[in-house]
């Protein structure tokens, strides 16, 4: 039977809390892991912003501790390392563990009515592999000859031994490979679980949108992470064994014959789906949350699922828009431009559905709801600015400027982060049995969205003014020095944004141990995860529930007065 794999609850500390195979423990492990890395990546972002606003000034307080050899000054090599690792950490070790690792592990079995993932041991291995990847990546910061400096994209030949002679870049590639392996394991587990372990009655049409988003993300993970895995293998071989996959003959002086552009193709075949890997769960989560807190069925459930699926499919064929300036042929360039534009159609359907979901609702502006509306806002900004980047005529100027930085931070980083925050606050009561403080949560939300939007909108202005990204010092030439005032302004806002996250840390820690105890179903929603006891028993469900209703049947006319929701296990009263 779908839920019959019961084994005894472990009593040993290691089996219970460290090498646990229980999806709930693993979700919490991913949560802590992701939050720690989010913090590290965030500190890196603050260092980057400090350097941009005050080029060559020693970093106050922590500078002499972090960079003793330069007396607290971030030197250009360190700066390159910082933005490289900031990107890598935020994508692979911050957001992925939070929004896929934590939310996926937590939500999938509970929402579909399963007792655990279908491959619990693989699940455990998935976490410890990403943990190992994180360790390797962190260690790479301290090796001789410097850490990776080739950007998170790691383009050859900068990332081959032409530039980075030390082992930093190799270790970075190994870390990315390990993290990728972890994602594949997770993806296989999620997909098989969703396909095989749904509770009776939990049809595909009744899956909560969160699960849909995670399912599609898993498909992308399983299909496209191997591509970067192979690219990393080739890169490692180039670096360690002297092969020449990405090193052209002109550099090698005899031998060689590889192609650095090949790497860019491989990287972006993965890299573009990676954007959707992060954003699909976010879409799923807010699709649910908007409906939950507007107390209204998710508008166009099928359309939303269809749009997400369409994006999943399309994501594989638009990657070329990252390479418009690399000398792509005219035909390829135009095709990729067209295909990229087509992605806006499913995106519009999603926006349409979300906005209609809150339209004429009975909206409870709880913290998760605020984050969800925030996602619509920042993703709207980021998505629309994507048109500039997809259009070659404008991209030819805006490519590799701060415009792109603003664009992808809003689309991928901010949207996924907001959805992750929303999901954390939403699932917190079930996870830890306590409520997070709504007051601090709202304060955190407002102090996050305002500086965040202003930082990245300023980046649009900077990019349009022609400021290239990945520059250590914009004051070294007159052309850019006259734009420095915007860099300073963005830095002020970024520091505000950074310090606002301390509110979250405080709120999280405080609520984890001292928060108000939560009731079984504090949000009054009908999905299966909220029909269980709090705290959750080891096997989630004593009896596997039978699903008879959809996940979003809020405010059904036939519901009794004073109750606007219905559990998925309850029959809808006939109107």
């Amino acid at each position: 039977m779908s839920g019959d794999h019961i084994h005894a609850e472990p009593t040993n500390f290691f089996r219970k809390h460290v090498f646990s195979v229980d999806h709930k423990v693993i979700a919490k492990q991913f949560l802590w892991f992701g939050l720690v890395w989010l913090g590290i990546g965030g500190i890196m972002a603050m260092l980057i912003r400090w350097q941009l606003a005050n080029p060559g000034d020693p970093v106050p307080v922590i500078g002499s501790f972090l960079f003793p050899r330069t007396g607290g000054v971030i030197d250009p090599a360190t700066y390159n390392t910082l933005f490289t690792m900031h990107g890598t950490i935020m994508i692979f070790l911050g957001l992925t563990p939070l929004i896929i690792g934590c939310v996926g592990n937590w939500a999938i079995p509970l929402m579909i009515g399963a007792r655990d993932m279908i491959f619990p041991l693989l699940n455990c291995l998935s976490f410890w592999t990403v943990f190992a990847g994180g360790c390797v990546g962190f260690y790479s910061l301290f090796v001789p000859l410097g850490a990776t400096e080739a950007g998170w994209t790691g383009y050859p030949t900068l990332s081959t031994t032409v530039n980075g002679l030390g082992s930093g870049e190799t270790l970075w590639a190994i870390a990315v490979f390990l993290i990728g392996a972890s994602s594949i394991m997770g993806g296989i587990n999620y997909m098989t679980t969703v396909i095989r372990l749904r509770a009776p009655g939990m049809t595909w049409g009744r899956l909560p949108l969160t699960v849909w988003g995670l399912f599609l993300t898993s498909a992308l993970n399983v299909l496209f992470i191997p591509v970067i895995g192979s690219a990393m293998l080739l890169l490692i071989m180039d670096r360690v064994f002297g092969t020449t996959f990405f090193v052209p003959a002109s550099i090698m002086q005899g031998g060689g014959g590889g192609d650095p552009i090949l790497y860019q193709h491989l990287f972006w075949i993965f890299g573009h789906p990676e954007v959707y890997i992060l954003i699909l769960p976010a879409w799923g989560i807010i699709g649910d949350l908007l409906s939950f807190f507007a107390r209204k069925p998710a508008f166009g459930y099928r359309a939303q699922v269809g749009a997400m699926t369409a994006v999943t499919v399309l994501s594989a064929v638009v990657y070329g828009h990252h390479m418009f300036t690399t000398g792509l042929s005219a035909m390829l360039g135009e095709s990729f431009m067209l295909l990229t534009m087509i992605i806006s159609v499913p995106a519009e359907i999603l926006f349409f559905s979300w906005l209609h979901t809150i339209w004429r609702g009975n909206i409870r502006f709880t913290v998760p709801m605020l984050w969800s509306v925030g996602v619509i806002f920042v993703f709207g900004l980021g998505g629309l600015t994507g048109i500039y980047c997809a259009t070659i005529g404008t991209d030819i100027f805006l490519h590799d400027t701060y415009f792109i930085v603003g664009h992808f931070h809003l689309t991928m980083a901010a949207s996924a982060l907001f959805a992750a925050f929303g999901a954390i606050v939403f699932f917190f009561p079930k996870m830890f049995g306590r409520m997070m403080s709504p007051l601090l949560g709202k304060l955190h939300f407002w102090l996050t969205i305002i500086p965040l939007v202003s930082v990245f909108c300023m980046m649009f202005v900077m990019g349009y003014a022609g400021m290239p990204r990945r520059y250590y010092d914009h004051t070294s030439m007159e052309f850019l020095a006259s734009l420095q005032h915007m860099n300073k302004a963005a830095t002020h806002m970024a520091f505000l944004l950074g310090s606002a996250q301390l509110i979250f840390v405080f709120n999280f820690i405080k609520s984890r141990w001292f928060g108000k105890p939560a009731s079984t179903n504090p949000w009054e929603v009908g999905t299966l995860d909220w029909q269980t006891e709090t705290p959750l028993p080891h096997y989630n469900f004593k009896d596997i529930p039978t699903v008879v209703t959809g996940p979003h049947e809020f405010s059904h006319p036939a519901l009794p007065e004073g109750r606007d929701w219905i559990s998925m296990t309850e029959e809808l009263p006939s109107a």
């Binding site: 459930y301 690399t326 159609v345 806002f377 400027t401 709202k442 305002i450 300023m458």
Partner: protein, 287 residues
Amino acid sequence: MKLHTKMMQRLTSLWTSGITRASLGLAILCGMAPEALAGGKRWGPVPFASDFGYRFEDLFWLITWLCVGSFSIVVIMILIPSVRDRYKPGRKAHFDHGASLKDKRLATVISAATFLVLDAWVLVIAMTDLREAWWNIPESEEAGVYEVEVLAQQWAWNFRHKGADGKFGTADDILQMNELTVPNGRSVSFQGTSKDVIHSLFIPAMRFKKDFNPGDINSVWFKPITAGNYTILCAELCGYAHYQMFGELHVLESDTFDNWAADASELGVAAYDSEDTEARWAWDWKE
């Protein structure tokens, strides 16, 4: 606690009052205000100086206004329910799955309309622009095309002109480093590659950018329309001193340029060491 909660609700109701957008805009302005007060600051790009520069500006602002329009709709669609449909005990939300044929039609029509207005419009203009400007690299037989070979390296730009004899790789070639001098009003066609890592030739005033990859030759062109000095940047991360890899473009009026080219070619011959075979890097112009 109660008071705080109330205050927070106030803050949350910012959505409701339409101040949201204003406050966000204000935040941007507030952040920038101290720096903006000082003079000599730039907010936009330098004026374009190439004949296709206007295409970028036109397209950029077209997209901008389209985006402002559609984003306003999104914000309004957020604001209205935020004001009108806030939680009231006892009120029931409108029960609607949005699965009716009408809704499906509406979604389809709106998506299609948005696509046509937002994307297809931009797409058509962009395609035209590309074919008429950026990808319309002039053939070398065309009269008045000025050809330059570019060799990028960590961290400098090497430019090679044909010199007096009209051939690359000869003694009278003009070699420039981090400086490029071209005639005004003539199409300047580049072919470029790199010695080591990927670099990207970015001349903001000319509104173009092209990667130069090791082991491959890429072409790009522009036609200056205003004489003057412009900045050349590297737009692809190329290692430690990426931020210092910049040069200057001098666009000279054609008389001045002819004088310059004659002198430069002569000095090129004087500096040419026929025994130093190591120092050759020109290639035949690729069609």
